[in-house]
Subunit: 352 residues, 2 copies
């Protein structure tokens, strides 16, 4: 089913509304309007230059209805995921207008008695994309997958791991390869229409969730599987999910997505790791289960001018001797080509 999205992002659309931006840029479903009273009257591309869309920005659900949306998508993911109180009225208006509600928030809107009752009355539905299905414990069946598995990792959360995965999948497909993108978080799920929000799975089952995602992708007979990463291996709050993906998806290789301007991980004093330390800790850790090398560095140079971006790329190349590029700024094709063939690796076997 094709959706026509109105995206809710009050006061946030020009800022860190990463779900909204991702769905507009990469989603297969159309975005027909954005709701942000602070930008009402503008077009999407006027508010966020890198989004090539002239969808209108409006101040209310009522105004959005003129563009015939079928669904309201909650377009930002505040830290911790709690629903800002003033958004409730917008959501109730959308339910009353019989729009489907699509949310990636931590708080399940479908578990909210008022929303659930209103949706029942209006005859519409609420899709909480973070609500994970039941998954088995990790089994190791992912080790039998034929296609190479390429996992994104990075120096922090919210540095662009999903974007790089999507750009690499696009470049691979344009190069004639059957590449499948594996979403592991709410925005990726909204873009791809399937997936599991691995950070919402019970901790013991998180590697099993990663494994099931790769097994699902493998049923499409791809020749390359590209897995969206989460968190960062030295983030005190989010590293367990990062590790669940490293082990659970049976990665054969990793691309590090790095924002070189971050000197600490989101929300904490913990310093980000430099390139060499990042490579060392990822390869050492994953190598205790199934060897996988870092095969490239995708920089996020947003906010740098062209000269500074090129200097950052040159520095990373010099320090790592790996392919380095900014895939959003300069396109994914050269970087994808530079990665070369991605080889399958085998899980370790016990010493005899």
């Amino acid at each position: 089913m094709t959706r026509r999205y109105a995206i809710l992002a009050p006061d946030r659309f020009a800022g860190d509304a990463k779900t909204a931006h991702g769905v507009i840029r990469y989603g297969t479903d159309a975005t027909v309007a954005v709701i942000d009273p602070s930008l009402a009257g503008k077009r999407v591309r006027d508010a966020v230059a890198y989004l090539d869309s002239d969808a209108p920005i409006v101040g209310s659900i009522r105004d959005a209805l003129a563009y015939e949306p079928t669904a309201l998508l909650i377009g930002t993911a505040p830290q911790g995921g709690a629903l800002p109180a003033d958004w409730r009225a917008h959501i109730m208006d959308a339910i009353a207008a019989k729009l489907e509600i699509v949310s990636g928030l931590h708080d399940m809107l479908g578990d909210d008695a008022a929303f659930a009752a209103a949706a029942r009355r209006a005859g519409t539905t609420i899709w909480d994309v973070r609500k994970p299905p039941e998954v088995p414990l990790f089994r190791g069946e992912v080790y039998g997958v034929r296609a190479p598995v390429l996992l994104m990792a990075g120096n922090d959360c919210a540095v662009g791991k999903m974007t790089v995965a999507l750009e690499l999948a696009r470049a691979a497909r344009e190069a004639g390869r059957h590449a499948v993108f594996v979403p592991t978080g709410q925005t990726g799920i909204m873009i791809a229409g399937w997936g599991i929000s691995v950070d919402r799975v019970i901790a013991d089952f998180a590697p099993g969730a990663a494994e099931q995602l790769v097994m699902y992708a493998a049923r499409q007979q791809p020749d390359l599987i590209i897995v969206e990463g989460q968190g960062a291996i030295n983030h005190p709050a989010y590293a367990p999910v990062t590790l669940a993906l490293m082990y659970g998806c049976g990665a054969d290789a990793m691309v590090l997505v790095v924002d070189p301007q971050r000197d600490r991980v989101s929300g904490f004093q913990t310093p980000t790791l430099d390139y060499r330390a990042l490579i060392r800790v990822h390869e050492a850790l994953i190598g205790t289960v199934k060897p996988a090398n870092v095969i490239g560095i995708a920089l996020n140079t947003r906010g740098l001018d062209d000269a500074a971006a090129r200097a950052a790329i040159a520095l990373a190349k010099e320090q790592t001797h790996l392919p380095v590029d900014d895939l959003v700024r300069y396109g994914p094709h050269a970087f994808y080509a530079a990665l070369g063939a991605i080889e399958k690796t085998k899980p370790l076997e016990a010493k005899p």
Copy 2:
């Protein structure tokens, strides 16, 4: 409230019934009977030599009632946690006899319609100790805790991390220190009467759960906090929980609990790490957030004779230059004394 436990462990009591053994050995509540038809008529210490208890082993709930239990404790934790079908009758009998049901299984007995209805009818309750409370995301408040935090890690799951933590807490208390044991799994919770089964917490919140546990312990004004570990850092299924504890409890030092006879981690081909690799990977990883050293190795030499146990200890000492001992076989006091003062460490701060 003091409980009098009947412990259910059909066909398993002499084997891997680690919950049963832990509660009998370390619990503050008394165990008055064990239910295992395959051993009926024996005493606990006849079935499991290292348990100093003459509680009777019986074949049924009916027989156990002669010893006036107040609660039925489910005494084993099968992998994955599913409830064996033939145990249901025992549990229904116990509910009918108005016993409280205490379970550490993955499947929540209180969510089972038949058990819940029977408990309501009988006027008794079901305590699913794995059911985690709501916890916040990791915040970093653990960094302000005054007492040193000592975390158990190890070369596999089920090697004795809880036992070593309990033995160290006992030795510390006997040496005049106010040591608090922090339970992170179902058996530890049953022993201590509080705690969170961190493996059951939603992955994003697992470090927050570890932090809240340490904050709770800190309110008792201890001068040493000893945290039960979980899993192993290179276990493909359980490592995320291991990492959640490493970062979340704000560890100042680690003790590695090692079964030197394991050559692969439970359930997988993945080789266990040797001492040097174990130390290296734990210190490298935790050092990206808050430095903590491995300060001792607690060996589990069960199944080895005395000469072989001493040889294993000597080998580990030679390879690590750290205090090494088997705390169950030789007592915890010498090892505890050899650990010396445990120094607080600071979280890293961003490069200037």
